[in-house]
Symmetry: D2
Subunit: 341 residues, 4 copies
């Protein structure tokens, strides 16, 4: 049984583990004040062309999202998200648990646009009886594999600025977005156009770890306290620093994401060739082909994946995910099996 | 400069890193459902002679404490802790941030006794105008290096049972406690005498990781939801599972703690020989000698450690911590330096 | 300008104020332990045929809702509500502020049915990545004037029991529901079919005050602590007790609601006679006629009310509310004005 | 049995009830936007010589304290209070329930001084492992009857300014403080020297009600949202507005407090004449005489009061409270009884 269910089925890229071993006995200060973290942050700031960026490394995406949102919002303020957004669909109410409503917007492609935002604002005028929308949360790539292009992100950024809303970009799969063939955004664009974002490590080669980036110093005020208080400050911060150092010192991060995308596109092309359509227009490492149920049934005997959504009596959309660790032989095997079915 | 400031200055015990490497490309289910975590839990349940224990692995101590306490307490319920307790002194109000008061008790040795508990209960009778004490939080070893003996823990356990209080033991340094020369407790005793406890990995050989143990099934109801909601559920749960498997499959955990204690006791003996006294009667890997300030000043030029507390005009207590990774040569060097001063 | 905007534009029914005056200098114990509160509770328990009901009086509806929901739900549990439900539409995220998601359901008539509930449960199976639905929140009468009949409430009650969900009924306008001409529910039915509900005083004759009713003793465990902690326990509990005593010792509560309904129906009948339709099929004190915008414009010169919703280019639905204090002369005047327009 | 147990045993001053009756049927806008509230606020701003003060009326003291503190503090910030402070001793952990630690200071007289504050700051330097003290909470009069004089409040105010701490004054019994014979503070001083304070109505003539005063506009930003969200915004805001209008339009508030103080001092003088001492040097409406236990026993047969604290084997301190409603005949009777014993 081969796993196309997610992009965290294996450990870390071997070069990360080797660096952990090589540096293992060097004494370091704890709680993120180690040399490796400092070096990784310098490299990241350069890569995003933002010398003022304030960066923290944490363990996971839900932790990141709840920390950022609860740090920036006051109690009566709410965050706007696509209904497919990870904070609404997959985090067990983590944001509400910190006291904030997630206002959801139905979308076709998992992306928010200025019109969506304006509609939400229009629906929240009856002060003080309604929550105050104060942040826009987007994911890039989205939870259904799509990406924002530069024009879309610029428009959203301008809308947020003019409406005094924070723009927060969840980059659990930011590498995959930036390496998609139809992408025209850079890490520098992301840093310039959002207030805060994160660079996901867990789903792209790290054992664990996400890099939270506040693009202006002021937004990060006292974030260290919050980090500790919510249980997100690792004693051995080196574990996170070393990983991001390894991933970014020579663009390993982007190489890995590119490979993952290529594997997904290879499968997608084969599926297209067979005449099947897709639930979403993904150009990243998550694809959602719509297949006959009897074919899905047969595939489940050799491959693990999610059946995402019933389409009609005879077909369902499934989700296939690839990663830096996906075995190309298995990809070829899957394609062969598809051709035979 | 050699670091005696804490027990998390180095990475992990090399055998852990090697096992991470060896298992790296084996695909596993995420979110703690991996085989390694399952095996580690089975071994732990055996070692604590409690087949019903429900075990979860998380990243750190503050995360553990806030998760356990907020899971077990209702909004108006409070936890009793020594004033030196980690949840009061070192966690940035993490417990209060989940809505609960920490009621503190002044102690000489960092340990709570039934009389302390009864005094607190006596002070909280004016229902409903006061919080309801519902949990007792202790650490073993304590934050000042002391340990509970079996009789003390039995008495506290009985007190908690009769007063309907949960007993929660913070085992960030449980290995050091159980390996102390004056210890008469076992892991099975801990499991039998408390409601919930944790076994600290971070400070005893792991890269990161603590094992939360609910000693009865009922207390753990729906804990998986909480784990996810608070951002504590790692996608690659294998990272934690593999470490605990490695630490406990052959008692590495205890061997490492014993070594750390031995290093601390070696330093302590040398200090005693010089005629100095100690702030606390520690038999574990944290010692608090009271030294003349000029000697402290000289030591800071070669060694990193905390100056813990001013004693009088001429002397202060310092804190020296050893670990599984402490270099015995450096310990000898420190002893030599002390002898010369 | 006469106010049809809400049912809290005036003070209290005069007999309440007179009783406050008559009892003013009688010393009473504070915090809800006064004789008046005790008497009012006894009368209420009799009227709902439930000797076990645990009753508390508080100041307002949002306070009630947040107290009940946060008392009964654990951190990862969520409440299901119609999208028009007060807890979602009008309480500034009060429920999320206590940590719980409100899962909303789109409805035509503001009411929830078993099929709605089952759909929500079906969407929340991916444990532990999703919240756990644990309570159903309904309003009777609803926020758009409709009511539940006995069969509907029975079916919902059975569904909640079989799915282990709490059923909580918001009775801010319970009097109006029970006095509607098409109603077949009694206070005893409400107590038997729900887990917890409240009887609204503020919108039916009281200065302020709602009676929270836990229909089984167990659900109310330690509620007094919560009441105090959330700032809802009035020092002079007599203020609430006296009002409920006055409202229920001789059915004043129901008489007042009946009058409010009659005034609304009188207006509704006149509007129907003119050939206009309604947004909802209300039989209580809130009606939502759909009128031409020019007529609405003219009405706003003499009457205060909400323009509820744009229907099309030429028409909008407005909301007219009557109460125990509505002046029948003004109702007649409004009807005359409508006839002339 | 006559009640000296608290200052909320009776209803409201009759002139308040009469005004509620007189204005009862005048239609008003809800949620604090009524004319009476507006008038009361104008009068209060004049009396405190602060045209910029932002004022809100709420139901009770615990509600006030939790609202103010949670509005002004970020998650990792803590409030400093005397251990006798109401927020620590009597509010069921209401502040912790909003996420904030209350750091307590032991005092002799219930008052905080700059040295106390500096000691706390000194103990909270280990960023980010400790909470960040950000507010000083004081009560005037204190929970043990003492008051701040102008010099004390000025010094504390300067300390808070220089340390960037908010100064919040709980005025549940502010009238009693300002009317004490040894008082040299005015309402204007209070407004000038604190950041936020409240004027207690419940314990000085109102049915219920406290006036929260933010002394600068900025601190009150979006407070209306918080008020609604926490369940503190009454639909019939007129109930609170009318009461404060009545209390302050002609100094009724101060007259009532003066009377309450006079009754307490009359009892205190009689007790002093008998040669007994007091636990605290109260000049307000709460006194804490230390009496032989057999005398206390006899007094409990005719009078209700708290036995506050055991002093030694033979004596205890009791708490006697008077109010605007205290019957002077009963005061004389108590004094006679004391003389006879």
């Amino acid at each position: 049984m081969y796993n196309f269910k997610n992009d965290y089925s294996e450990g870390a890229h071997p070069s990360i583990l080797n660096t952990l071993l090589a540096t293992n006995m060097v004494q370091q200060i704890g709680y993120g004040e180690d040399d490796y973290s400092a070096q990784a942050k310098t490299i990241l700031r350069n890569k995003m062309s933002n010398a003022n960026a304030i960066i923290y490394f944490v363990s996971g995406g839900t932790q990141t999202n709840l920390l950022v949102i609860t740090t920036l919002l006051r109690s009566h303020e709410a965050v706007i998200s696509a209904k497919t957004g990870h904070i609404y669909a997959n985090e067990t109410g983590a944001i509400e648990a910190t006291g904030h409503r997630v206002i959801t917007v139905e979308t076709q492609d998992g992306k928010l646009r200025p019109l969506d935002i304006k509609k939400v604002l229009q629906d929240h005028l009856l002060r003080p009886h309604v929550v105050k929308p104060k942040m826009v949360y987007i994911s890039n790539s989205t939870e259904i594999g799509t990406i924002y292009n530069k024009e879309e992100l610029q428009e959203l950024s301008e809308c947020c600025k003019s409406e005094e809303l924070y723009l927060f970009l969840d980059g659990a799969r930011l590498g995959h977005a930036l390496m998609a063939e139809n992408n025209d955004l850079t890490l520098s664009d992301i840093s310039a156009l959002t207030d805060v974002f994160y660079i996901g490590g867990t789903k792209n080669g790290a054992l664990l770890g996400e890099a939270i980036v506040f693009n202006t110093v002021k937004l990060a005020t006292d974030f260290d306290y919050l980090l500790k208080q919510k249980g997100a400050l690792l004693a051995k911060g080196r574990v996170l620093g070393i990983q991001f150092l390894e991933l970014f010192k020579e663009d390993l991060y982007f190489t890995l994401a590119k490979y993952a995308n290529a594997m997904a596109m290879k499968i997608a092309d084969a599926i297209k060739d067979k005449g099947y359509s897709f639930l979403t227009n993904s150009t990243t490492n998550q694809i959602f082909p719509i297949l006959p149920k009897d074919i899905i049934e047969k595939l489940t005997q050799k491959y693990a994946f999610y059946v995402w959504k019933d389409i009609d009596e005879n077909t369902s959309a499934i989700r296939l995910i690839t990663s830096w660790a996906t075995d190309e032989n298995k990809v070829n095997e899957l394609i062969d099996d598809l051709k035979k079915l």
